[in-house]
């Protein structure tokens, strides 16, 4: 079932306009990696079988009703005197169903094997830690000095399998990038392992798949698949500490940031060492803030800092009691962290 003719079937069923994959980034009707493709094939297969079964049964029921409408004569007269008969329906129907079921079950087992592990061993590992309502991602490395953390937006090299180790600090969440692979729950007290691979460069949106509290709806993440060279450059930039060289104006912003936000957020290279909230060392290099809730613009940033509860009720980010000047100083300083 190559992608080409699946498109045809889709059009035939009149579903194309609704299921256009282009403007729905979370649709898994098309996947872009070996961790998801076999499952998508199977999904389409089962989907088409389902649609056929629905059509057949509906036709049979409607036909059964339309075929022999009851004559108006004696309502008491029974159509059939014996209660046997009609068993052939059951034998044929169940027979066909069982055959289809067995076939689908076997196909499923092959697909399970296909997506369980990548073809060749992963050479990159990320450790994703889910907390109530954001994702921390640690890029593991044998050489400890290459290890770094970056929240919510995950960069991976195109075409290479990535091993994902999942752990939770509080409740159960679920790691799910629909267009790359199926979801895997993140359960506290154990480390679940899954993998993914992007064959096409681009940004793949994901979202928490298991109900985890007030802001389960706003716990998104983005996997950005870069060509290996761009990935390496990005990683190198992420490892660097925040640029120390600051003019006087921004120094006050940095000091205000460290005093007010340093207990929860970390900016490597400054005294801010909090791990309760996301690492902000390279905040500017990310497209969104608050786990995909808002695009990363200074306006949104100051709105978020001033009153996070209004934008994301129940979030652990408190409403900061900041004066206007402090707030603008902090936002100006955060703007330099790219």
């Amino acid at each position: 079932m190559t992608r080409a003719n699946r498109g045809g079937v889709l059009v035939a069923l009149g579903l194309a306009p609704v299921l256009g994959a282009a403007e729905s980034p979370m649709s898994y009707l098309r996947t872009f990696g070996p961790a998801g493709d076999p499952a998508t094939e199977l999904g389409w297969g089962l989907g088409i079988v389902s649609i056929l079964v629905m059509v057949v049964i509906t036709v049979l029921v409607v036909a059964a009703i339309a075929k022999r409408r009851s004559p108006a004569s004696s309502a008491r007269e029974l159509t059939v005197q014996r209660d046997e008969g009609g068993l052939s329906w059951i034998y044929i129907g169940v027979g066909v169903s069982t055959a289809v079921l067995i076939a689908c079950a076997v196909w499923t087992m092959f697909t399970v094997a296909a997506v369980a592990m990548p073809a060749h061993a992963e050479d990159m590992t990320i450790r994703v830690t889910a907390s109530q309502w954001w994702w921390n991602v640690r890029y593991e490395n044998d050489d400890a000095s290459q290890v770094f953390d970056a929240p919510n937006e995950i960069h991976i090299p195109v075409g290479r399998p990535v091993r994902v180790e999942l752990s939770s600090t509080d409740v159960i969440h679920s790691w799910w990038i629909p267009q790359l692979a199926g979801k895997m729950d993140v359960i506290p007290g154990q480390t679940n392992v899954t993998w993914l691979q992007a064959d096409k460069a681009g940004v793949y949106r994901g979202q928490c798949g298991e109900y985890c509290g007030a802001q389960h709806a706003h716990m998104a993440m983005y996997v950005v698949a870069d060509p290996p060279r761009d990935y390496a450059a990005w990683a190198e930039r992420q490892r660097a500490a925040a640029s120390p060289g600051l003019q006087a104006a921004l120094l006050r912003g940095q000091q205000t940031f460290v005093n007010n936000c340093g207990a929860c957020h970390a900016v490597r290279g400054t005294a801010a060492g909090g791990i309760l909230g996301p690492d902000l060392t390279h905040l500017k290099s990310r497209q969104t803030i608050a786990a995909g809730l808002l695009p990363n613009t200074p306006g949104n940033l100051s709105a978020w800092i001033a009153n996070a509860q209004a934008l994301k009720p129940g979030t652990r980010m408190p409403t900061m009691a900041l004066s206007g000047s402090d707030l603008s100083a902090i936002v100006a300083y955060l703007d330099t962290l790219n």
Partner: protein
């Protein structure tokens, strides 16, 4: 209605009211904003730590805006570990480098607002000031957790806290007459619910009590 039905109806109403009586701050697992934010930090900073020269301390009580909301206490407990308080005060707040917070011995005041002051302003023997690292809202959650440990005094017991009175203490008649109107007798239970005064820790917290770590 027969007597039996009336009894059943009364029981049903009583049980609903009993449930309604327990806290009704909004929200299951999310902590709504504090009920009244009138206790702005500036007002709290001006409160006296100890007694006032020549006057009986006013019984102005500044209650915890979160009341006894279980969510606030639970989030306060999480903050207690995440903000490194447990490193000094011990994971059960039973004391370590810092003093024990579950007993009724308060060097800088045991009413919720004085506990807020100690966290907000810091104290000279190594307790850092948490303003501005923690906004007042989060400090009140920490105070809610400390109150849930049972050693703190009620908000209105400023006088009792000042003089170390506890529920069940005998009060000499002469003293009873001179006390101002504020109900001094009630404070945290002496050694009942919560206040831990097991023998090994009986001695007052001299500087640097029980270390949690192994060496300086």
């Amino acid at each position: 209605m027969s007597p039996m039905e009336r009894a059943a109806a009364a029981l049903a109403v009583a049980s609903v009211l009993a449930l309604a009586a327990c806290d009704h701050s909004r929200g299951g697992s999310t902590v709504g904003p504090p009920v009244q934010a009138s206790n702005a930090p500036e007002a709290i900073i001006s409160l006296p730590l100890g007694d006032i020269a020549g006057a009986t301390p006013n019984a102005a009580s500044v209650p915890n805006p979160y009341g006894n909301s279980p969510e606030a206490a639970q989030q306060g407990q999480a903050l207690f570990v995440k903000m490194n308080c447990a490193g000094c005060h011990g994971y059960g707040a039973k004391g370590g480098m810092g003093p024990n917070l579950t007993d009724t011995y308060w060097r800088y005041g045991g009413t919720p607002v004085l506990i807020f002051k100690s966290i907000y302003e810091g104290r000279p023997q190594g307790m850092p000031a948490w303003n501005p690292s923690l906004p007042p809202e989060e400090i009140w959650k920490l105070v809610a957790y400390i109150e849930s440990l049972g050693g703190a005094y009620q908000a209105s017991q400023t006088q009792a806290a000042m003089q170390g009175d506890r529920v069940g203490d005998n009060v000499a008649p002469e003293v009873q007459r001179t006390l101002s109107a504020s109900p001094s007798a009630s404070g945290p239970q002496a050694n009942g619910h919560g206040a831990s005064t097991d023998s090994a820790q009986a001695r007052p917290d001299a500087g640097g009590a029980v270390p949690t770590g192994a060496k300086p």
